[in-house]
């Protein structure tokens, strides 16, 4: 079996804060194959952004492994990480804060080309503009003089400039209007095809993720609770949290009436992680069994959920992380 481009294993990330420890990532494991788009969803505070920052190593994980192309870089010193970043890039949620407001678009797009000593930079710059469908006229403008969609295109050009293989997209369409969103998604897909990119697409917007990603990871309180091929997860959501989440999405069609599944209590605190299933305190179907750590049960090939209700009659477990699906 071919080894994945990125393998995340038992990733843990904790932050000491006044009054306790925030367990942002609590043993996250998954793999991303070259050329695919993996969607990552979950609510605010579930650890999505921490995971993104760990993958590009803006944040050093507390424990666990991050293997890119066969090399574990979780503990690499900053100097070595810089070379990794040529391959692993990130597009941030809000280009207004991610881009230096006093730099021109030219300087912004040129910077990563200089940092990574990309040859024939001027030609690359022109090519990049073409790729992200921006006119040359914007090169002398600063972020404040660009539209929201143009700013995000500049941010995308910066990320793909050094010809990375893996790009983490953290809510890349959250800051733009709906009419712009479709164009950005189409652009990201085109770039993936032309530049042979692999994406981790982070979003809280399931309607968007459904249309861009091949596979879906659902996170809750620092854990991946369900993972599988997009259509498999949507047609057979198997963790109760995934079911609640999917039932909450408003459908833009007045003729559709959905039944929203309830949750109990209040959003949890990441300083107090419950034992066993992290969703247990809010789950209407929780039992004593859920106080024990839940293994992943295979729902369909490559589709697994850490919920006792996903247990098939025969009880086939796949163990945390490394294995997914049957080859």
């Amino acid at each position: 079996m071919k080894s994945p481009l990125l393998q995340v294993s038992d990733l843990t990330c904790e932050f000491r804060v006044r009054g306790g420890t925030v367990h942002a990532l609590n043993g996250v494991s998954f793999a991303v194959e070259a050329g695919e788009t993996v969607g990552l969803v979950g609510e605010s505070g579930c650890g999505k952004s921490t995971l993104a920052r760990c993958i590009v190593r803006l944040q050093r994980p507390t424990a666990g492994r991050l293997v890119f192309d066969g090399q574990d870089y979780a503990g690499w010193p900053e100097r070595r990480i810089r070379r990794l970043r040529r391959d692993v890039q990130m597009v941030f949620q809000d280009p207004m804060t991610a881009l230096n407001p006093s730099w021109s678009a030219r300087r912004l797009i040129m910077e990563p080309l200089l940092l990574h000593r990309i040859p024939e930079r001027e030609a690359r710059l022109r090519h990049l503009l073409d790729e992200v469908e921006l006119p040359e006229g914007i090169l002398n403008r600063r972020p404040g003089e660009l539209s929201g969609g143009q700013r995000q295109r500049v941010a995308i050009a910066r990320a793909i400039g050094p010809r990375p293989r893996f790009v983490v997209l953290d809510e890349p369409t959250a800051s733009v209007d709906m009419s712009i969103r479709a164009g950005l998604l189409r652009l990201l897909r085109k770039l993936q095809r032309e530049e042979g990119l692999t994406y981790l697409f982070i979003s809280h917007d399931l309607s968007t993720v459904r249309h861009i990603a091949d596979r879906l990871l659902v996170m809750y309180l620092g854990k991946v609770v369900e993972e599988g091929a997009m259509e498999s997860v949507f047609s057979k959501p198997s963790h109760v949290y995934t079911q609640v989440l999917l039932s909450s999405i408003p459908i833009p069609d007045p003729s559709v009436h959905r039944e929203r599944l309830p949750m109990l209590g209040e959003p949890p605190s990441p300083t107090e992680i419950p034992t066993g299933c992290p969703f247990r305190p809010r789950c209407p179907q929780a039992t004593d069994e859920c106080k024990q750590p839940q293994p992943y049960y295979e729902v369909a090939p490559g589709h697994r959920a850490a919920c006792r209700l996903a247990k098939p009659a025969g009880g086939r477990e796949t163990f945390a992380g490394v294995k997914r699906g049957v080859a």
Partner: protein, 336 residues
Amino acid sequence: MSTNLLTVEDLTVAFEGQSRPVLSRVNLQVPADGWMGLVGESGSGKSLTSLAMIGLLPPGASVLGGRVLMDGVDLLAQSPDQMRRVRGSRIGMIFQSPRSALNPLMTVGAQIARSISHQTGVPHAERGAVELLRKVQMPDPELRVHAYPHQLSGGMCQRVLIAMMLAARPRLLIADEPTTGLDVTVEAEILDLMHSLQEETGMAVLLITHDLGIVAEHCREVAVMYGGRIVEEAPADLLFRDPGHPYTAQLMATLLRADRPVDFAEAVGNRHPDVAAGSGCRYAPRCPHAEQACITTSIELEIAGPGHLVACRRRRQLAGLSIDEKAGMTRVGPRS
């Protein structure tokens, strides 16, 4: 025909020093009960319309013309004092980022109590605050009444604001992106709460949002804004099924829905983004069906059917086209 609670007539608003008005002859009829949606992208003027209605325009903006009629009275002609009373009692408001609408130095109970006192004249209304928190399904209301806004989640802060609004028993609630920034599960809870409160009180809700999913789910009537004008107004089921304006069609064509995969829509046909919008339709430069006259000739909302108003010169020629055809879009396969 249901009666209208509030009618906006030819509302025109401009910012100081700008030649073109930011709202241009906006007409809107808010039904006396049920939900009406006001949709459009950022900068289309939907929030400004609601602020003008309640006399809270930002500094630099002024009303150049038009009327806002409620109970036969033009709200635009009221004094600031009179408007303050209207806002407190007849029109309630909730906004995006609920935490910033609360006083960080007061407990939420004290803020709700103050709102009750303001309405009823009862001096110490702390007990009423707990009742209202219970009504908005705040968990542990006896405990939360003593909490400060920073101790509550965004969803809970919005519940507090809804409680304060309820104290006044308004006949119209203006909700401007009330759930933007909240998680999807919390958003669903807040909207469901608002829905049951609306049914209980029979108030009217004017929901301002860019999220057509929420509109489809809650609103009976919808008005669509573009470039400071209403371009279409229709019952929700009709608007989603057979939009009359090419801009509305574009919104519908680019919708992504979570319940089934759709192919991306991609623009085809002639557009003229470099042409400056003239005195005609503001959407004309982006419209695949625009003619020269669309840019230069002014256009009003016209009746296109029962309860259906459209401001498009080419409305008749476009009738019968599919949504994608009206929007000038074609479908691109998911993996192409």
